[in-house]
Amino acid sequence: MTIEPSCNSNAHLVSRRSMLGNLLAGAAGVGAVGQLVHPAVARELESKQKQVLIFLLNGGLSQFESFDPKPNTDTGGPFRAIQTAVPGTHFCELLPYTATVANKLAVVRSMFAEKVPGSHGGAREYVVTGRPPQQGPYPWMGPVYSKLLADGGDLPGNIHITPSRWGPRQDAAFLGPRHASLVLSGGRVPLNVERPDAFKESSDDARYRLRQLADTKFSQRRRTAHTEAYQSSFDQAVKLIRQKTLFDVTKESVQDQDRYGSHDFGRHCLLARRLLEQGVTCVKVTHNNYDSHMENFNFHLEQLGEFDKPFATLMQDLDDRGMLDNTLVMLITEFGRTPTIQPDNGRDHWPPNWSVVLGGCGIQVGGVLGATNANGTEIADRPVHVGEMFHTYIRAVGLDPTATHSVGGNKVPIGAPERSAVTELLT
């Protein structure tokens, strides 16, 4: 499904282009968002704008080796449970740093989904759209936040920091390419943001304006989703060229770089902080390799060993800066892993149950919602469906998940209409 713009008026186009042009003119050589907009507007934005930080633990994080430990049971694995900053709440010992910021988090131990596709992609899509992928495609959370929270300013509304080898996903669906994730593969600055030496900035601007003129003229009569996509790509490229330092974590202090760690995920978390501080609406950070059909315990030891400290450091930093008041944090994964330990010391996929963690704005933190039975084979209390969580993610930032997107003149509910937000999690 691609978007057919419901509004073809020239005024709309001109207005948008004019706004972009103004921003580009003002943005030349400037890195900070505060300098891109009128101070009064910036103050208003600062007071109201919500941001979102999403951690995707890709592959299927084991609930046993993270937020729902079951030590000394037939399913529990070799690791112990440790006390967290919230009395009576225990995490797996693989998360010692995260345990210290548990008072800034809400843990949901009773997540489930039914009829989940066997593939990781399908299950992931279920989690980030709140709807079975068979019904889609629907826009993922990042594009939804970009559409509903970002103001169309000079910063990308939705940035996805990924391990290497990740390419762009078509995650915006009918919201259009403007809201699709800008993927920073390996956390690196997008390719080709350096202007070749042969071109001066002034000539580059002239070329851009010429392209804009042609573009506008063409769009007056032949505007389609594809022309929209091309225009968005050019617009985004220009923004990135202007703001390439935005993605450069080496601009952060050496002390901070040390605190976050020298490995990729540490750098990615520091980059996420930098992007949020600069005003990016939605930042997603993906951490890989939780699909541990083999050697589940070794891989979780490795991966959570990498994840734990940077995540906790980022939570603490956001709190210290007062940013958790306006930033929703979520830690999601596509499904859990089997209680049964498989022959290769692995755990397989387990859509009947997993854990999700939330924090920041709109969330009642410091507690645990839902429970599993003694050895984690079943949900024992307050099952929470992925569709309910999608509503909750939207509601937490002050938006109405029962509202609609306008798609080609049709209204499409933001969240699955048969679901509603989990009120126990919301402030």
């Binding site: 890989n288 699909d291 315990f297 490795e302 022959p343 692995g346």
Partner: protein, 382 residues
């Protein structure tokens, strides 16, 4: 591809009279438990078998109790396959002193004591002289999992390795008295073994590096390359593999390292391999493999005094015992388990005919490498 002619040209191990015969290997008893078994070892008298499992206990079976055959569920139906004798449940005692799974067990040569190490770094030294072994000493030896423990041939030292990348040698007669700390690994250390001469110690890690240490001085003497058992998965950007099993032959002239080769990512094992090294030169003599490639790992390996090598391993597709002669890379015999459960560890009893295999599915299985005696057959038939 091997054709029939090539297949028949494979070397055949010829068993000597009254010696172990790999071709006659048969399952003779099961020692059942409700958790997967990770490690197993006979005591020198073969009366007891010790095991570490996916629970917090060291398990000891008294093998002097005769295995029994459970009565059939339906006495009128003749079982399709002969039932397997099971060692009585009351022959097992569970010894509590650990806080996690038991990764390694090693007996002292006199069988009077043994040592166990768990996945949260705790070492326990046990006295085995009484009807129920008791914990003599317990101490935290590593930060993070202990993968293996080893007792020196003279029984004076204990070596431990773990996730903190350290190799530590402890005095066996004093709780937590450190003899040497050996630091040169830069990743998890999976295995450790004393050389039969007692003067050398080897440790092996995730990246397939075998380090040879001088026990007395603690100096690193050399490194042996078994890195074919390790892969850095470019696709997943993770380290995969490692040395899972390791053993010397009786005179210490050869060393075997078990594991898997190839990059199958994080969801599947590679191909089972055992590397055979000449100890003196450190030269790789042979890369031992199954005749038919299986996606699995070789977890355990033992030398037999009759000159052949036994490997145990498997994956979710099945479990195996492989038999090799050092002169040939391809296994001359293989036993595929009926149960789909890899053999994580293998030990050879002092009778040189009985094997114990620690299985994922919650059983230690005993195999005898000898033909069933005629009298026993007649008795059973009767």
């Amino acid at each position: 591809m091997a054709d029939a002619t090539e297949s028949t040209a494979l070397p055949k191990f010829i068993a000597q009279p009254n010696s172990a015969d790999p071709f006659a290997t048969r399952l003779v008893a099961e020692l059942k438990h409700d958790r997967g078994i990770l490690a197993c070892q006979f005591d020198p008298t073969n009366r007891y078998l010790f095991a570490g499992a996916r629970d917090y206990f060291v398990h000891r079976w008294d093998l002097s109790q005769e295995p029994v055959i459970d009565p059939p569920v339906d006495p009128k139906k003749k079982p399709k396959v002969p039932p397997i004798p099971v060692v009585p449940a009351d022959s097992r005692i569970a010894l509590a002193a650990h806080d996690s799974w038991i990764g390694g067990i090693s007996l002292f040569d006199d069988g009077d004591r043994f040592v166990s190490g768990d996945f949260v770094g705790r070492v326990v030294i046990w006295a085995n002289r009484t009807s129920t072994p008791n914990a003599e000493f317990a101490f935290v030896a590593h930060k993070g999992s202990i993968r293996k423990v080893s007792v020196s041939p003279d029984g004076k030292l204990i070596a431990t390795v773990g996730n903190d990348q350290a190799v530590r040698i402890w005095r066996a007669d004093a709780a937590g008295k450190l003899h040497r700390e050996l630091l040169d690994h830069d990743c998890h250390v999976y295995h450790v073994a004393f050389h039969p001469d007692g003067k050398s110690l080897i440790s092996a890690d995730l990246k397939g590096r075998v380090k040879h240490w001088d026990v007395e001085t603690g100096k690193l003497k050399r490194e042996i390359d078994a890195s074919s058992l390790y892969t850095y998965s470019e696709k997943y950007e993770v380290d995969v593999g490692g040395i899972r099993g390791m053993t010397f032959n009786a005179d210490g002239s050869q060393l075997c390292c078990a594991g898997a080769t190839g990059d199958k990512g994080i969801a599947h094992s590679g191909n089972a391999r055992v590397l055979l090294f000449d100890w003196e030169s450190g030269e790789l003599l042979k890369t031992l493999r199954p005749e038919q490639e299986e996606i699995c790992t070789a977890w355990g390996v033992k030398f037999h005094s009759d000159g052949f090598i036994i490997g145990s391993g498997g994956s979710r597709t099945g479990g195996f015992l492989w038999f090799w002669v050092p002169e040939e890379e391809v296994a001359f015999h293989v036993i595929k388990f009926k149960q789909r459960a890899p053999g994580f560890d293998v030990d050879l009893a002092s009778d040189n005919k009985t094997l114990a295999v620690a299985n994922h599915d919650g059983a230690v299985r005993l195999y005898e490498m000898s033909a069933e005696k005629e009298a026993e057959q007649t008795e059973k038939q009767a």
